[in-house]
Symmetry: C2
Subunit: 142 residues, 2 copies
């Protein structure tokens, strides 16, 4: 994931785009959560001393999603989260209390979805599966 990918997406290689890609790459690699809201990306850019506008962050993230470099998820209430697209599909387990996110992938579920779509005459283009619960830590008495 680097400048080459940006270019191949038909986008010019600009500083904001490169920096945003860096932020996304750093996420989930020990540096905090993998899934970031636009606001989080913006804040991290500021922390790194980059003067990039929030509107640009939104624009670039949207372009990256369209280019297939990034995935967007709408976990809940209005806010979208973004993560680098690693090319492997997966779904999410989200803790209702602390917001922790765990990824998983289940062949059986994937297969059943395909079957259900077909059964109703639909073509399956995409899907969203989010399991909400309490993570091990949050289940413990406060």
């Amino acid at each position: 994931m680097d400048k080459t990918d940006i270019k191949q997406a038909g986008l010019k290689v600009t500083l904001p785009r490169v920096k945003i890609l860096e932020i996304l790459e750093a996420s989930g690699k020990g540096e905090g959560p993998r899934h970031l809201r636009a606001e989080d990306v913006y804040r991290r850019l500021l922390e790194r001393g980059e003067e990039i506008g929030l509107a640009t962050v939104y624009r670039v993230l949207t372009q990256f999603v369209e280019a297939g470099l990034v995935c967007r998820h709408n976990f809940e209430g209005g806010q979208s989260v973004f993560e680098l697209d690693r090319g492997v599909h997966h779904d999410h387990l989200v803790c209702m209390k602390c917001g922790r996110v765990v990824e998983f992938m289940d062949e059986a579920i994937e297969a059943r979805q395909e079957a259900i779509a077909t059964q109703h005459g639909f073509t399956l283009e995409d899907h969203t599966l989010v399991i909400h619960g309490l993570c091990p830590r949050c289940q413990k008495p406060a």
Copy 2:
């Protein structure tokens, strides 16, 4: 679903609440789509000549959800849709083009989710599964 349910939820039986419940009951029974946005409910109230504020619609829908009378879903970008809770869990197939919604329920998927949550130490409280695709009508060449 009537005034009794409102009362049992610890809410006063007011005209707005009764009317909103009526709108939800009428939906999905031949009268348009089953899933309504707050705005849709509001519009239908106006059509029926009821002078109920949009803020009240939001407040009442939220209270109904908390009382378990209504389910809220966040199909996509920001907007929530509401439907009367019939007590039977189900997931959704949503057409990406026309927005048509088909409900389904699959034991195999439900079981797998429980297994996955447990496997990661999570307690399963709830889940959201939305399959996006093209419905039979929208697959046909325009």
